[in-house]
Symmetry: C2
Subunit: 250 residues, 2 copies
């Protein structure tokens, strides 16, 4: 009897997901209240619904690719998306993981500056960019909420810069685990589980923390050796929160 995984949030949607399109009322959306859509009233929501195209993406499928015309924005409703930058020689930096409720695809200029693909099966609402911009120009509440989201993302990105530039491997891993736990807790209405699900692989974690897969593996093993964590299938159980918090030293 395993713990429920965050991706179970929309298991129904995923299992119903044979073709590429999924239908469903925005008013029933499980992530509406944590997404940008919470800025909209009931009647505006039905207008949004006509513009939305909910789609499924199996694991590893690309939502959009760095350099392509940025002609859509997305709200993730289930699953985990990795957003990353590829250097010309193949090195990769993951700049963020988008969880259910997150908004993707804002770009300055007319091409995406980053790539996004599904880590595990994903459901996302897709909006044509020009249509969405038209809507947000007519709805100041939505525009304001988008600014709030962008500001929040900017703060996260800057905190991640401090992580990448100024912290050791052990601090990086501890901070990552605590941060992910916090994000899942928000999605589950405040319940903080001791077990953090890790839908992404070690390579993804490494590329997010600016490390190699070997260092991530070694660091997790060392944390497990000192009883700070317990490595379980699909995730990590945080067995010594105070020590992890001291390492993360937020």
């Amino acid at each position: 009897m395993r713990e429920p995984r965050p991706s179970d949030l929309s298991a129904m949607q995923l299992s119903a997901c044979r073709g590429r399109n999924v239908t469903g009322a925005c008013s029933d959306c499980k992530v509406r209240l944590v997404s940008v859509c919470s800025a909209l009233e009931a009647e505006e929501l039905s207008e949004l619904e006509r513009l939305a195209h909910a789609s499924c993406y199996p694991a590893r499928e690309t939502l959009f690719h760095q350099g392509e015309p940025a002609d859509a924005v997305y709200t993730v409703t289930a699953g985990t998306v990795r957003l990353y930058n590829l250097l010309s020689d193949g090195r990769r930096q993951i700049v963020g993981f988008a969880l259910p409720g997150d908004f993707l695809g804002l770009s300055p200029g007319d091409t995406y500056r980053f790539s996004a693909d599904a880590v595990e099966p994903v459901v996302a609402c897709r909006f044509a960019r020009n249509v969405y911009e038209g809507l947000s120009d007519r709805k100041p509440h939505l525009q304001r909420r988008l600014l709030e989201f962008a500001t929040h993302e900017l703060t996260l990105a800057r905190e991640q810069m401090a992580l990448l530039g100024r912290r050791s491997a052990e601090e990086k891993v501890a901070t990552f685990l605590l941060g992910l736990r916090e994000r899942w807790a928000v999605l589950f209405g405040g319940h903080e589980s001791a077990t953090v699900q890790l839908p992404m692989g070690r390579q993804d974690i490494a590329d997010y923390l600016g490390l190699t897969i070997e260092t991530v593996s070694r660091t997790l093993s060392r944390l497990a050796g000192t009883q700070a964590v317990l490595i379980v299938p699909g995730g990590v159980r945080l067995t010594d929160l105070p020590r992890l918090r001291r390492l993360a030293a937020i």
Copy 2:
């Protein structure tokens, strides 16, 4: 006969800056067209003018500090501001340098998440946050421009994450020099000078690139030794752009 320094942009304003407050019409502002204020029409501009408080900050003075109530936003009109995150043990990560035209102070929640202080003497227009939010709620153009700015900043932050996480010291320094050159060029209307002014010290560059001051110094010396750059007072002359571009490998 030295080259003009970017800070000369507003030498008049700075020399007139005896007290803390500077006055001047927004319509005369040298950075208006590259700042968020470009979203406003002539009559809106005079409304903005009544809300703005232009102030001087001598070098090293703080505009705002991490943790303080976020009750103001700023547009830099002259000088360079460093924006940084302090870890509890004193390690510092500079998350960006704000140049004339840049907008500062957007925060999720009601406290600043980062500190900002003047690298060299700075002039900045200060707006009370609640007043500015009221204005932007009434001016969709301004709100939209703010979103554009935040999106642009987010993109820069993510590119910096890739720099911090995945690049060598030499690549970091080369990318930094080329990026700063590009930014000055935009402020000077497209003229790309071979000499990049560095108003910030080596320690600031180190804290921006996730390096130590010694590594920055050594890397610059090595680049100078191979004739890629020439270190001049107050800046660096880029003498081998192709090689620097290859190192930066954008």
